[in-house]
Amino acid sequence: MEDIDAIALLQDPVRRRLYEFVAAQGREVGRGEAAEAAGVARTLAAFHLDKLVDAGLLEAGSRRLTGRSGPGAGRPAKVYRRSAAERDVSLPARDYRTAAGLLAEAAETAGLDMELQDAARRRGRALRGQGASFDDLDQLADVLAGRGYEPVLDDDGAVLRMRNCPFHTVAEQFPPLVCGMNLALLEGLAEGSRVRVRMDPRPGWCCVAAAPSKNNEH
């Protein structure tokens, strides 16, 4: 299926709610749970979830939701998670991914880490706007969500982590270069705020985390 057809499937509001719910969980989601979140019957949810799988937007697996196994445990339930495949449509056609990959390759070869970080920090400051700053993690989370990072506060609300890396493809190819760029961008964005960003990479997450800054900083 072409990207434009897959994306067009999300025009349907129920499908879109299901997709966004599954994507936001960052784990496997059962049919019942997704149906409840989208406010539709389980059979209708199942129909739409499978359509999203056919389009490559979600991936399906099976799991025993009850944790029981052996005879009497019943059939494994079908579960869904967001697909790792990227879909994008640009009209007219643009190909910034190839450009980004080539620029990153050249910067890597030339050892331009510091120059890239300087440019990213300046861009971060410009995105924040003059005089603006963040008083807390919720304010930063709003801006990061708008930039596609999918921020999630941890259980006690002390650390903000990002489920999505907006630079994923080039970050996988040139991790120190691109992750360094990303950190500098967010440092510029958070400068002068009561929140502080730092590098804290872990598998499956953006390399940067944010926390409230201590009083003696900034």
Partner: protein
């Protein structure tokens, strides 16, 4: 036993120092060596790293030149190594690499498969790096972006043996 458990992945890389290790500009790097090594030692999939006799690490060893330090380790899988290098606290040292290390024009990191239990020598590592620099990535000397499986490496070595081109020390006795 599957090839996954019969072979481990060796990684060797060079860093040309911008300043001597005693220089204050290297202090941040030096302060990260011990915690990052401890992190590696405790990472699932870590097998071995080079340590100078009587020392805690290999920063004093200079097998590739007076101003070149080496980093040499063995891992159970490419995924385990990748997650440590790029998805752990180690990334912080990579992000700041240009503050401490000169840019390398030639390849400076090489990966190759070793039989599980075999501790590769520094000579072997330098040989693999030379191979990568001379011929580009191959199953016997590769990089993260051009990686090969242990099966491909085993096949390449078998082919090299029958062609009689394998150098001493990396022959079938080592595999």
């Amino acid at each position: 036993m599957s090839t996954r458990t019969r072979y481990h992945l060796a990684q060797f890389n060079l860093g040309t120092l911008r300043f001597p290790l005693g220089d204050p500009r290297m202090a941040d790097f030096l302060s990260l060596v011990e915690p990052v090594n401890a992190l590696a030692d405790g990472t699932p999939g870590f097998v071995w790293r080079l340590v100078e006799e009587g020392e805690a690490d290999a920063t004093g060893m200079r097998p590739a030149g007076e101003d070149v330090i080496v980093n040499f380790s063995v891992w159970e899988s490419a995924e385990a190594l990748w997650d440590f290098v790029y998805r752990s606290g180690h990334l912080e040292t990579m992000r700041r690499r240009r503050e401490w290390f000169q840019r390398h024009v030639d390849a400076h990191l090489v990966l190759w498969w070793v039989p599980a239990g075999h501790i590769p020598s520094v000579g072997e590592a330098l040989e693999r790096l030379a191979l990568l620099r001379a011929d580009g990535p191959s199953p016997r000397a590769f990089t993260f972006t051009s990686s090969y499986t242990a099966e491909e490496a085993a096949g390449a070595d078998a082919g090299a043996v029958s062609a009689g081109t394998l150098s001493a020390g990396t022959g079938p006795a080592a595999l």
